[in-house]
Amino acid sequence: MSGVDIAFWILAAGTVAFSAVVVTNRNPVACVLFLVASFFCLAGLFVTLHSHFLAAIQVLIYAGAIMVLFLFVIMLLNLGTPQWFDVSSPALRIVVLLLGTGFVAALISGGLPEFEPAVRGPVADVPADVRGSTEAVGAVLYTVYYLPFMATALLLLLAMVGAVVLARRER
């Protein structure tokens, strides 16, 4: 077992555990913090996959920006305490448990554990570290994926305007 493998197990356990806390804890603030932790783990996993740029983005955007936004709203709305209503009925839990188990079982039996890439990608010969670099991602993003990138820009504009429209205070 190499170091990378060990890192994977630790990070995987961290991701799952923190995420599990997020979906079970009743305190929103705690949830946000655990989610950030989970995202850090995930960023680590990206590193083990040689996607350094993505790992950085994961930390900066997700953990840094998005989660702060969440936290901000929680604080704005004064929800920083455990929420009494946030309990689901046992029946629902059983149903969800069954469905969730079924879902995981379906995916796992669908061949995820044995997955081997059937197709060799066009840049398979380029070292993985290079592929995960900022340069590489940028080179692809601004060429082939130019149009989606621009569309994403529009999307962000729209989200901005939309958020303003929705959350603006009444006159």
């Binding site: 379906a106 995916l107 669908g110 061949g111 995820l112 997955f115 890439p117 059937a118 197709v119 060799r120 990608g121 066009p122 840049v123 010969d125 380029v126 070292p127 290079v130 592929r131 670099s133 340069e135 590489a136 080179a139 692809v140 060429t143 082939v144 994926y145 130019y146 149009l147 989606p148 569309a151 994403t152 529009l154 999307l155 504009l157 729209l158 989200a159 305007v161 939309g162 303003v164 429209v165 929705l166 603006r168 009444e170």
Partner: protein, 512 residues
């Protein structure tokens, strides 16, 4: 620069960027920004009417109309020059083909009609905000991209662009609880389904190694499909099924349709649905070679469920928007039937019906808008539509026409559309599916008729305030009504067009 990067740069090169190909999207998106800027600098506007007054016109609606009209013009121009313009652009992010152009036309026409309805509505409701038009235009841009792309990355972004705009539009009446509740529900479910969509994209990508649907058949090669691909397609069916409101992924739509401002509801029911269906159709066609045997049974069940749940649930509705929501669920079922039969006549029937559906549904929502009054949507069939035939004869005639068209009574377009779908289903050998569709349509007659009954056969309560009809909404209603009749009486040319357009779908999928 890292020299090891060079092979990568050699592979990822820009291919066929073209202003001509992207022109409609550019126009729409550009005008969306212009609308916002014009508002920002208060160009030609006097904003902020006092409470209770009717909103004063701003420039935004006209800019939006011009933008959409230009976009539509550009699309038509592309259609005219399809021979030379046709093909794949921006590394397959944008595809100019008959199918996409047909749908783009439908989407833009739907947008245009929505805008026509919106202008008066916004004035009446005192929500003369430029953001409204901005959101509609950006959504429309997303739809265009969605309908004209074969790349899953692009499809995903376009879908989100479209959806986010509609989420916000749903909640536009943020002072109304219903509006916000609708937005919340739409958003939660929409984001949830996005998760599945992304996961599905990931699986398809993992199984095939490509994000481009056009290259999918080639990438998959022959042999039994990997299970991962099946799972991926299944998840994509879920994602798109949500957008087009197939049962059991439909549950957002009645609530959201009821919540949204009526013009937006019309927009959602038509343009949004058309765009989502476009991508759905491309996905299914692309995978039909190895997978038709797998997705047809699933879609079969979904279509039947959708037709029946939609029609049966609509029976009880008194709120016309909710009723139309269930109705549009049912129509999604009919369209799914056409998709199932797409190997034969289904593709043409699909396009034709989508166009017809857009006309009649938008027309119906146009009437819904017109029946509303300031601050009151007047959506109760029993109460607000009673006696409409005598209060507003023209409005009621138009509504009756749309209802009969939705029912499928000749000689309206809705009838011929259903006939085309029946034909497609029978032709492809799905007689039992056609039969179930027949039964479902029979059920639907009841609730459509209910509206007609209310308008003509129930005594009207006297109303103090006569509804005001806005000229632009009148134009929209006239156009839709005319279209519903014209496409019904002389469907031949349209059908030919639909058939020719549908060709592109298969060419992309590599079938024909």
């Amino acid at each position: 620069m890292n020299p090891e990067l060079q092979p990568l740069l050699d592979v990822y090169r820009v291919a066929r960027p073209s202003l001509a190909a992207i022109l409609p999207v550019l126009l729409i998106a550009g005008f969306a920004i212009v609308v916002l800027l014009a508002d920002l600098f208060e160009l030609g506007t006097t904003r902020g009417p006092a409470e209770g007054e009717e909103g004063t016109p701003i420039m935004a609606p006209y800019l939006a109309l011009v933008g959409t009209a230009l976009g539509l013009g550009a699309t038509l121009w592309q259609a005219v020059r399809l021979e030379t313009l046709g093909g794949s652009y921006f590394n397959g992010m944008l595809v100019i083909d008959g199918f996409g152009l047909f749908l783009a036309t439908v989407i833009l026409a739907g947008t245009l009609l929505t805008l026509l309805l919106t202008v008066g509505y916004c004035r009446r409701e005192n929500i003369a905000l430029a953001e409204y038009y901005h959101l509609i235009l950006l959504s429309a841009a997303g739809m265009l991209l969605l309908a004209q792309s074969t790349n899953l990355v692009m499809i995903f972004v376009a879908l989100e662009l479209m959806s986010l705009g509609v989420y916000v539009l749903t909640g536009f009446h943020r002072r109304r609880l219903r509006s916000v509740e609708g937005a919340l529900k739409y958003f939660i479910l929409g984001a949830f389904s996005t998760g599945f969509l992304v996961y599905g994209i990931a699986f398809v990508y993992g199984a095939s190694g490509t994000m481009d649907l056009a290259r999918l058949p080639a990438a998959l090669g022959v042999g039994p499909p990997p299970l991962l691909l099946l799972a991926g397609v299944g998840l994509l069916v879920v994602g798109f099924g949500f957008k087009v409101a197939l049962v059991p992924f439909h549950m957002w739509s009645p609530d959201v349709y009821e919540a949204a401002p009526p013009p937006v509801t019309g927009f959602m029911a038509t343009a949004v649905k058309a765009a989502a269906f476009a991508a759905f159709a491309r996905l299914l066609m692309a995978t039909s070679d190895p997978l038709a045997g797998q997705w047809v049974p699933v879609l079969w069940v979904l279509a039947v469920l959708t037709m029946f749940v939609g029609n049966v649930a609509a029976i009880r509705q008194d709120d016309i928007k909710r009723m139309l929501a269930y109705s549009s669920i049912a129509h999604a079922g009919y369209l799914a039937v056409a998709l199932i039969a797409a190997s034969g006549l289904g593709d043409a029937a699909f396009l034709y019906y989508l166009a017809v559906y857009t006309l009649m549904t938008l027309g119906a929502f146009g009437v819904v808008v017109a029946v509303g009054e300031k601050g009151m949507e007047n959506t109760s069939i029993e109460r607000d539509y009673a006696g409409l035939g005598y209060r507003h004869p023209l409005l009621a005639v138009a509504m009756a026409l749309f209802m009969f068209s939705l029912t499928g009574i000749p000689p309206t377009a809705g009838f011929f559309g259903k006939f085309a779908i029946f034909s497609a289903a029978v032709d492809a050998g799905y007689v039992s599916l056609a039969f179930l569709m027949v039964i479902a349509s029979a059920i639907s007659a009841y609730y459509y008729l209910k509206v007609v009954v209310a308008m003509y056969m129930r005594a009207a309560e006297p109303r103090a305030v006569p509804n005001r009809m806005y000229a632009m909404a009148g134009v929209a209603l006239f156009v839709t009504a005319l279209g519903v009749v014209a496409l019904g009486v002389f469907p031949g040319g349209w059908l030919d067009l639909a058939r020719a357009s549908a060709d592109g779908l298969h060419r992309v999928a590599g079938i024909r």
